[in-house]
């Protein structure tokens, strides 16, 4: 077990290192830098810009800049934002919290709907309820996230039931605890719905396919032949056997927690990583971009690691294979 986990951890470590090198390379090699826009300010002399570039080491070779960045990562700063004139880590952390609040809620809701719906659909494979679910998920799959979010904003504006974006009312600080929760829930509803609707079809289809595969497996037919009731058959035998692909998908859901909602956040003015990273990309605030990618990679690696651990626990074949190596 330990060796298996250590190997997965080593994979995750090299993945993070590899992604950091590639992100650093691509972002720094992209044309233009943060101070370029100041070139269009006729009041700022080229010498001032050169001095600013030098101050932020933009005139240094790539290797030195990478080493300097790694050093700042080791000191918990994850680089320095040119725009905010401050270390990147605290800037990202505060926004990552907002993103996680949104995506965790959406992930929980999506799985809570997808699991029973997928199982129910698999049980009725080829029948009317299954067809309705298949068509509905197909329709949801072809609607772009952007259109979903925009549609929901139109709803907000026309009905006035929900705020047109944002995370909290201006009065938030003066509200009672209960009203704060209510206010947050009102602001979260539309982005969560948009995220759930965009992830639900994939989850439902995976659950359905995994459960349907197992339902026709010989061991279940044999169990059915022994007179085990259908409910027990489904939840005690079929679901654990179908869990393997779903655990991998769950790991992927964890990995997408920081990066899966960026577009929705921008459209819905949610103060998470989305608008922050978009602005940083456009402004060439490169260490913010690299830090954002690093955060997402850590989540991806953590999601994969968690999935591996769960698989090890759920699937006896992996345990056997790992022990025999």
């Amino acid at each position: 077990m330990m060796r298996y986990l250590l190997r997965r951890l080593a994979h995750a470590f090299f993945l993070i290192i590899g992604v950091s090198v590639l992100t650093f390379l691509f972002t720094t090699l992209a044309p233009g830098n943060y101070f370029d826009e100041m070139r269009l300010n006729p009041q700022i002399a080229p010498e001032t810009l050169a001095a600013l570039r030098a101050q932020y080491q933009l005139d240094q070779p790539l290797a030195i800049r990478y080493a300097s960045w790694v050093n700042s990562v080791l000191h918990g700063e994850i680089g320095f934002s040119f725009a905010y004139n401050s270390p990147v880590a605290p800037l990202l952390l505060v926004r990552a919290k907002n993103t996680l609040l949104l995506t965790l809620t959406a992930t929980v809701v999506a799985w809570a709907i997808a699991l029973p719906l997928g199982v129910w659909s698999a049980e009725r494979l080829g029948r009317l309820p299954d067809r309705v679910i298949s068509w509905s998920t197909a329709v949801l799959l072809v609607i772009p996230d952007l259109a979903l979010a925009l549609g929901l904003l139109v709803l907000a504006l026309r009905t006035g039931w929900f705020p047109a974006g944002g995370m909290a009312s201006v009065d938030f600080k003066s509200l009672s605890s209960l009203n704060r929760i209510r206010d947050l829930a009102r602001h979260m509803t539309l982005p969560v719905v948009a995220l759930v609707l965009s992830t639900l079809p994939i989850l439902v289809r995976h659950v359905r396919a995994a459960v349907a595969d197992v339902l026709h497996a010989p061991f279940l037919l044999a169990a059915e032949g022994h007179g085990i009731p259908p409910r027990t058959l489904l939840y005690r035998y079929a679901l654990p056997a179908a869990a393997n692909p779903l655990v991998s998908l769950f790991g992927f859901s964890i990995g997408a927690l920081l990066s899966g909602s960026l577009l929705i956040e921008v459209v819905m003015s949610w103060p998470g990583l989305g608008p922050f990273l978009l602005e940083a990309i456009l402004a060439r605030d490169i260490y913010v971009v690299i830090g954002g990618v690093l955060f997402s990679t850590i989540f991806l690696a953590a999601g994969n690691f968690l999935a591996d651990v769960l698989l090890y626990w759920v699937d006896p074949r992996i345990r056997t294979e790992s022990a025999s190596r």
Partner: protein, 599 residues
């Protein structure tokens, strides 16, 4: 309940989610002391008397980065700093003239080299600490410090030397220049006076850049502006509260500002700002695009949208006139022969349909321009500058004179060719993130097609474009826009001078590449130190005429400044100078004060 606007209008918005005292300068006198109101000491402002109280909510397109004027480089930070800080002399955004601010009066020495400023009595920072000339001395020491890299430093180098500042007494300070400075006291606009008691230590320790982050505790930051820091929520909002020590009064002697609170909501893009305004979550909106303005003006439900007229932004086309030496390919050298020919540039200018650009790109909310002084600039436009009508015939005649000819292709299309028989083909770079300029480029492409030119429009991400144009210099032509910060010519000095970094067609020249650029350099440098407005205007007009004749920049259009506010907001008068709607923030008030305050 508020009437809900139409779905179509929403969809249109939503679907684009992604995507002077100078007058005194003109007078033959060197003394410009203000004739102060006997009640002086706190400045009295004329205008509509408002009522105190309430909270104004406005949206900012994105998040400001700092409260520190020394390192602020982005427009949003400057907008916030503008309402939290004050300068010695201020440019009134409505009449574009200077007016006394922290300095109650100033005098200019007969030789034009020394400015003596007298501060008001009893000035206090927003933390209650008194302000005096030591704060002024400290502020300018910071701005001029080479290690601070303050963007303001370049403005404070006059005649190649930094301005020297010396204290006379607790209220009087003298600014000594190496050379007379034509723009005079405009120099002091935007130079916030910094709180020495808070910043001297970090400055001495070389840590000034790390001070003034938005997350600073409210008592760690102070200014002399109408509002002070109350609360910052990262990514969401910045709440400012009335500065109880603010020095301005209205004409009835009431303390300003009228508003108790000013809230900035951070909204990631223009269309989201419109949604917030439509839904009533914000009270005011500025920098509206023409389409959003059109949508809102059809609704006007409890709010009014205002067209303040053309601003100071000028959009223009320019050709690559850089001397690339050995780096230039034979193909580019051939193209550059056309670009260097003034008749070629005049032909392009002649065929550009500026009126169509204003009509189609700005929906009529803009002005056609033939120079970098837009109609929004009240004092510096050259009335004698020709505004020729679009003429295909004149353009053809100019090209013919320059040795170009036309051939007819197999499909009957006419192709322009140079004297060597090569077709005239080139590309125009434009910013992919600016939809207006992309449309402008497409219209220009169509205009040039009528002359037989084959033009490709290449949209590039803005910083990549800047890199191509200012660093690599690998481009044929480029469509760009610059927004002047001030109406005075000196704000565009680096566009005019051949040594300037924003002399975009051939920047940072060690020596002027052409005789006409040398002449412009001479005129601009002379006007910089000329003593009267008439002298400066005469020189500046001549420079504008040379630019219009040689067309290194083919000026196209200037958009109007479009803004909107709830009808309950008083004293809302958008200006064409930044900050467009908050320039008179101390006088903005809510007509139904309390109701709005508790919304």
């Amino acid at each position: 309940m508020r009437k809900r606007p139409g779905t179509v209008a929403h969809c249109r918005i939503l679907f684009r989610l992604f995507i002077i005292f100078f007058a005194l300068i003109c007078q033959p006198t060197f003394t410009k002391a203000q004739q102060n109101n006997p009640k002086e000491e706190s400045r009295l402002l004329s205008g509509e008397i408002g009522r105190s109280g309430g909270r104004l909510v406005v949206s900012l397109r994105g998040e400001p980065k700092t409260l520190n004027p020394v390192i602020a480089a982005d427009a949003r930070s400057r907008e916030i700093i503008g309402v939290m800080q004050a300068d010695l002399v201020h440019i009134n955004r409505a009449n574009q003239l200077t007016e006394p601010a922290l300095a109650q009066s100033w005098k200019i020495s007969p030789d034009g080299l020394a400015y003596t400023l007298v501060l008001r009595n009893g000035l206090k920072f927003s933390d209650g600490r008194p302000m005096d000339t030591d704060d002024v001395l400290f502020s300018f020491r910071v701005y001029l410090d080479e290690n601070t890299h303050a963007p303001q430093r370049d403005l404070l180098i006059v005649g190649g030397k930094p301005i020297a500042v010396r204290k006379i007494d607790a209220q009087t300070v003298v600014f000594q220049m190496a050379k007379p400075y034509g723009a005079g006291e405009r120099l002091f606009d935007g130079m916030a006076i910094l709180p020495r008691h808070l910043l001297e230590k970090p400055f001495q320790e070389g840590k000034l850049g790390q001070i003034g982050s938005l997350s600073s505790a409210a008592d760690q930051w102070a200014g002399l502006g109408p509002f002070r820091l109350k609360e910052y929520v990262a990514g969401q909002r910045l709440v400012l509260e009335r500065n109880p020590y603010y020095w301005k009064l209205d004409s009835e002697g009431n303390h300003l500002p009228y508003l108790d609170e000013l809230v900035f909501l951070f909204v990631p893009n223009a269309d989201a700002q419109v949604l917030k305004f439509q839904s009533g979550e914000t009270d005011m909106i500025s920098q509206l695009g023409a389409e959003n303005f059109s949508v809102l003006s059809r609704q006007q439900n409890g709010f009014t949208v205002t067209d303040a007229g053309p601003g100071l932004e000028y959009n223009f086309l320019f050709f690559n006139l850089n001397d690339l030496g050995e780096k230039a390919s034979p193909d580019f050298e051939r193209k550059q022969k056309w670009f260097r020919d003034v008749k070629f540039r005049q032909a392009v200018s002649s065929v550009a349909d500026r009126e169509a650009i204003v009509r189609l790109v700005y929906q009529g909310r803009g002005a056609a321009i033939w120079g970098l002084v837009t109609p929004g600039n009240k004092r510096w436009g050259d009335a004698n500058l020709a505004h020729p009508e679009r003429s295909l015939e004149r353009a053809r005649a100019l090209l013919k004179e320059a040795g170009f000819s036309w051939t007819t292709g197999p499909n009957g299309e006419s192709t322009l060719q140079d004297s060597g028989g090569k077709p005239v083909e080139f590309s125009i770079l434009t910013s992919s993130t600016n939809a207006d300029r992309a449309k402008m480029a497409a219209l220009l492409q169509d205009d040039l097609k009528q002359l037989g030119m084959r033009v490709q429009v290449v949209p590039l991400e803005f910083r990549s474009l800047l890199d191509r144009v200012t660093q690599a210099k690998e481009y044929d032509a480029c469509l760009m826009g610059i927004a002047s910060y001030d109406a005075d010519p000196n704000s565009d000095i680096n566009v005019w001078l051949s040594s300037g970094g924003t002399h975009l067609w051939n920047p940072s020249q060690p020596h002027p590449a052409t005789a006409w650029e040398a002449e412009i350099d001479g005129l601009i440098e002379e006007q910089m130190s000329a003593r009267t407005f008439e002298q400066r205007k005469k020189l500046y007009d001549r420079a504008q005429e040379i630019l219009a004749e040689y067309q290194p920049m083919i000026f196209l259009a200037s958009p109007d400044i479009l803004a909107g506010a709830k009808n309950s907001l008083g004293n809302f008068h958008p200006a064409v100078l930044e900050p467009y709607v908050l320039w008179n923030v101390e006088r903005l008030y809510l007509k139904s004060g309390r109701e709005n305050a508790t919304r």
